[in-house]
Amino acid sequence: MNIQQLKLYAKENLFFSTLLVMLTLTNNLAHAQKAPPFSNNILMDNQTYVFFMADRLEYNLNSGVNPLVWDAQGYIGKDLSKVWFKTEGEALAAKTEGEMEFQGLYSRGITAYFDVQAGIRYDVAYNAEDSQSRGFAVIGLQGQAPYLFDIDGNIAVSDAGDVSASFEAEYDLPITQRLWAQPRFATNIAIQEVRKWGVGSGFNNVQLGFRLRYEIEREFAPYIGISWNRKLGETADFSRTDGGRASVLGLVGGVRVWF
């Protein structure tokens, strides 16, 4: 019985028409094998990276009190989407006094060279008698400006509603393969005066630094340098009233480590 006869017969017979449908289906499956599902998960191109760097971990020798200073950051995440941690602070070695800040941010790559970062910041200041803390909501931009300047700027609103901004720029200048010069500029701006934290309205301070580091390994580089911190305006007045100085020039020595 050929197919034509079968078709004719099937018109009158439900059993045979069902059989014909089944035959046709089986026939098609055998000859038109479809491709298996496509997988894009066969490379190493979607890894989670972990990074930590203490850019500054140093002792500041000046004519007043000598603090230990740190400035470290790190992240865990994908190419364009990361959780970013930052901490910066100083603590006196000789007596119980210090202040520090911690930031936890979500970082999203928005252009080839810049990430937008948003999250929270927590400040702590302490001395032998007392301690205080405050929280912030932070939003900022971090990345590389043309000519490879490392830029980090952000705007923060404290839990009391005080608005401030900070900006930092660094540049890595190679002198030899292992010896690097690193000029650094940082400034803080506040809209409202916050007396308790010694913060005046307007420009708070300008920091200029210059460090020379020698990369024994790229991940481990001791350095020496100078750091100048000049408090400005009201902030400088508050500092003087509290028995401090508006301008501190110090010799710094430390190590830059990352992994």
Binding site: A32, Q33, A35, F38, N40, L43, D45, N46, L80, A112
Partner: protein
């Protein structure tokens, strides 16, 4: 997307780029060199640190760091097939891919998309005639390897265009090849700098017939 036509020819010839810049691949009257093509709007995203504002022929150029020592250095223009290619059809369609990367973020990709970001293979029709165009938007050379079929590199030798499986694409170069996919299946397509491939400069080309079958080779040309 306007490709800024006008008098951009290196030899001063008036040259009108059409909508997609296709006829820029045609040779000008007195030279084998294709006219430069203006890059369209940059949609490659943060994974691409740069684009080539103008995409150049560069087939006569020996490559980065070569050709400055007084010797003649053979280049892609000098390659010629001994025997004519068997498929003389004009291409029915074009597939254009841009080589993109960001050294700072260490991302490598095609069209700004790493392999894990694409959801489908690049579809090639079984026995179709197509033109593959590669544009290098990075500042380094990438050897792009297509498995499973020949690329007849369009370097001005017509039927004697050389057959290659890897095209070394120079920075800001626009290079093209004619392809007849004669073997069905899924084929790797990637930068042969393997650490670029592993970071995402990789695609799968799927050669299927009109029914979507990728297994048997029937009615082979």
């Amino acid at each position: 997307m306007s490709m800024a036509g006008g008098n951009m020819g290196m030899d001063g010839m008036k040259h009108e780029n059409n909508h997609d810049g296709h006829n820029a691949m045609q040779m000008s009257a007195n030279s084998m060199k294709a006219e430069p093509v203006k890059h369209g709007p940059n949609h490659h995203g943060p994974g691409a640190a740069a684009i080539a504002n103008w995409e150049f022929d560069r087939l006569d150029e020996p490559g980065i760091g070569l050709g400055n020592d007084g010797h003649k250095v053979l280049g892609y223009r000098d390659l010629k097939s001994l025997k004519p290619n068997i498929d003389n059809r004009t291409p029915e369609r074009e597939v254009e891919l841009h080589l993109t990367g960001n050294m700072e973020r260490y991302m490598w990709s095609f069209d700004g998309k790493k392999f894990h970001e694409v959801k489908t293979p690049i579809p090639f029709g079984y026995n179709e005639r197509l033109r593959l165009i590669l544009v290098n938007d990075t500042m380094m050379e990438h050897p792009i390897h297509l498995h499973g079929m020949w690329m007849e590199m369009e370097n001005g030798h017509g039927q004697y265009n050389p057959r290659k499986h890897t095209l070394l694409v120079q920075p800001a170069q626009r290079i093209s090849a004619l392809i007849t996919p004669r073997d069905k299946g899924r084929w790797a397509f990637h930068c042969h700098i393997l650490y670029h491939m592993e970071m995402g400069m990789f695609r799968v080309v799927e050669v299927a017939d009109k029914k979507g079958n990728i297994y048997e080779n029937n009615d082979r040309l």
